[in-house]
Each structure stands twice: as C-alpha cells, then as structure tokens.
C-alpha cells in the first residue's frame, strides 16, 4: 500500500501527513508525476483559495494526471472542492471528477467562515458506504470554510449551517470530505482509516 499526498503547494500538508502517521502509515508527499501515477491511493489536501490552488496544480502539471487517476482518491476541504466541476471562489474550473459546483455558503446572519465542530448526517443511500463505516449520526467533525457544495446525488453525508451542504461526497473511487478529518479527533481518524481500506 502506498499512499501519496499530492503536494499541492497548500499549507495543511504536514497535518495530513501526521494524521496518517498516527494510523501507522508513512505517506509520501510528492508532486512528481511518476510517483503519483504509481501510488495505490492519492490524497489531495488543501486550504486557501480555489483559484490559487488550481493555479498551483497547473503550474505543477498535475491536472491531467489527477483527472486520469485510476486509484482511490480523497480530497480534503479545498481538496474536495477541487474535485468538482467549478468553484465560484475565484470563478475557476476545477478537476471535474465529481459533479458539483462550489458556491459561497448562504447562512443568513450566521458567521462566516463556518468554523468549528458540527454534526454529520449520513444520507440514506450511503448508509453502507465503506468510507463512512462506523461513522454515525450526530458525530462531530471539524469544519473551516466559507464555500461549499450543495447536496446532490453524489452526497454521502451532509451538514447544516444556515442551509444543508455536502460534507462528504463520492463518485466511484473519487471521494471528498469538506471537513478536516486530520483535525476531527477519533471520527476523523476513522474516516481516514476507512479510506485506507477502501477498495471500491
């Protein structure tokens, strides 16, 4: 099993790396196309803004490689948003691996960013999804974001802040979490563990 954390030039790479280390997995952090292609699993981290992140991917010549990746791939936070078709944040085309549009959250008079621990609600259709094994209703996970993807048929779990949004998405073996599993205590560790065991 070789897990590669794609070096997107974003800042939370070492916290993701440490989270896998706590699970006993020594991930490689790489932007090398050969290394990425040979990995058995890919992780796309990300904090910051979508436009800058896509620019980083383009500059590193990673876009086609990620779009053609056959191995299981998990995007985290901004990394998840990059898997969708398009982001309103900087009005930029994303990787198009999972259908969806990233839009600024509609929260009425609530505060943005949506920052802190919030509960997951697993979709009926995803009750047996391997990524969510052992993760139940009302489990708290840690979010930090102002943009989100609306719930759709690719949603595996949702969360509510002002309105419902997709907290976990998936299409085939391309998966994404809007929250930060590397910072979500035991629940987050469980999701990462599930990703390591994911064979779909």
């Amino acid at each position: 099993m070789s897990l590669v954390i794609v070096d997107t030039g974003c800042a939370n790479i070492s916290s993701v790396y440490c989270a896998f280390q706590r699970l006993g997995v020594d991930a490689k952090v790489s932007r090398d196309l050969g290394v990425i292609k040979k990995a058995s699993r890919l992780l796309v981290p990300g904090v910051g803004a979508a436009r800058q992140a896509m620019a980083n991917l383009r500059e590193r010549d990673l876009i086609t490689t990620l779009q053609q990746a056959e191995q299981p791939l998990l995007g985290i936070c901004l990394g998840m948003q990059l898997l969708t078709d398009r982001s309103e944040e900087g009005d930029v085309d994303c990787l198009g691996l999972i259908p969806g549009q990233v839009k600024r959250m509609q929260v009425d008079d609530l505060r943005l960013p949506h920052m802190g621990w919030n509960t997951l609600q697993v979709e009926q259709s995803a009750q047996n999804h391997p990524l969510l094994k052992g993760i139940g209703e009302k489990d708290y996970v840690y979010f930090v974001h102002s943009f989100a993807v609306a719930p759709s048929d690719t949603t595996l779990a949702r969360c509510n802040y002002g309105s419902d949004f997709a907290a976990v998405i998936g299409k085939g073996n391309k998966l994404g979490a809007q929250f930060h599993p590397e910072r979500s205590g035991a629940v987050g560790a469980r999701l990462l563990q599930n990703f390591l065991a994911f064979s779909g």
Binding site: N118, Y142, E182
Partner: protein, 257 residues
Amino acid sequence: MLARRIIPCLDVRDGKVVKGVQFRNHEIIGDIVPLAKAYAEQGADELVFYDITASSDGRVVDKSWVRRIAEVIDIPFCVAGGIKSVADAGLILEMGADKISVNSPALARPELISELEHSFGQQCVVIGIDSFFDKETGQYQVYQFTGDESRTQKTRWQTLDWLKRVQELGAGEIVLNCMNQDGVRQGYDLTQLQLMRNACKVPLIASGGAGAMQHFADVFEQADVDGALAASVFHKGIIPIPELKTFLLERKLEIRP
C-alpha cells in the same frame, strides 16, 4: 448544529507552558507536548498556543515545538506570538498549525492582516486583541506588547474601532482578551463581549476571566460567543474539561460531547 468551542490556551515561553496573573509574574505549568496531548484527549475542541515573549523582545523564536504538537494531536490548533510577516506565518502553517494569530504586529502594520488573508485564506487568520477597560474614561482601549509588562503600552485604537478594522482587512476570527479579567477568575467580561459581538461578523472567542463552569454557560448564553478560551482553570485542574462539557450539555448548549 455548530458547537460552541472550549479552548484551553497555553502560554508558551521557551517551549514550556507558563501562566501569570493579569499578564504578569509567569510561573511554569509544564511541558508543552504532553499538556497539548492531554487536553486533546480530555475533549478540548481546539488549542491556542501563545508564545508570549516573542512579540515583545524582537528575537527569532524557536518554533520547532509546533511540529511536535502537530504530530501528536488530532484537533485544530492555533499559534500566536511573533508572527510579523507572511513568511513567519507560512513556516508555522507548514509545521502543521491550522491557524495563526496575530496581535501586536497587526497593530504596528495593519496591512499584514490582508497579506496573510491573501496568502493563506481568511480561515487561517486569527486576530488577537488585548482590550483594557479604562474606568476613568469609560472606554475600551487596545493594548500591545502585553507579553512583557515593561513594554506593555496603550495604542491609539479603541477596541470597537479596531475590531471593525481587522474584519475589513480580512480577519477570519477574533480572540478578545479582556485584560481586566485575565487570570482573576471572576467571570468573562459579558458587557464588553456583548458589545463586541454585535460588531463581529466572524467567529468571536472570549478570553480572560473564566473561574467556574457557570462562567462558560454565561458567556455562551449572554454574549453569544463562538468559543471560550481559558488557561489557569484548566492547567490547575480547577475545571476538568469532561465535567465542564457535561455541565454545558445539561444547560442545553450545543457542545461536542
């Protein structure tokens, strides 16, 4: 529902956790990594590390402890102290911190806030404000260099004006340290926090004054803050975090169990 956050604050000097009364007379509480780990295991929602000497004596501070914390804890943490540039912040975020908090350097050069926001995103940028209530003038005044008593000084800013300004510049969260209350455990400054809450459109964290579990309930219920930060009551074991959370859940507050 978004949970209210309980945030132990660890003041750091030379890699040790210290605590003083009203920002003075610091005593060593313990080693940083085991304390951080213990808090995460007890149910802290987030941790803040203030390198309290960094801003005030101008030296380059060894931040390697940030990496050691990132290795062991699985909850978010924020690092404050001595961050004067995008490069300083980048280094700390690369070592695994989730957020950086800036106080005195933002007062010296407010555009730093915008630079940080553009480089790392609003969600990383926390602004710490040390606010002192001047009983004679009846005004809330921003202070800087509060880590070192001999250099602590009043700024030209009143707290409400600075709180609005930092939001315009790109702050993603504000920690309001109410200096009159700090370390004396008589409760959070509800009057001041209510006032600032009305003007604060980003998450607001209350700091200074926690002495009893009721104080946490009060500050969430009456000042509607997103998080409550405390140090001595946690470090000295006066309030165990699991008991505090049970107490707040019984009060029907939204808390991560």
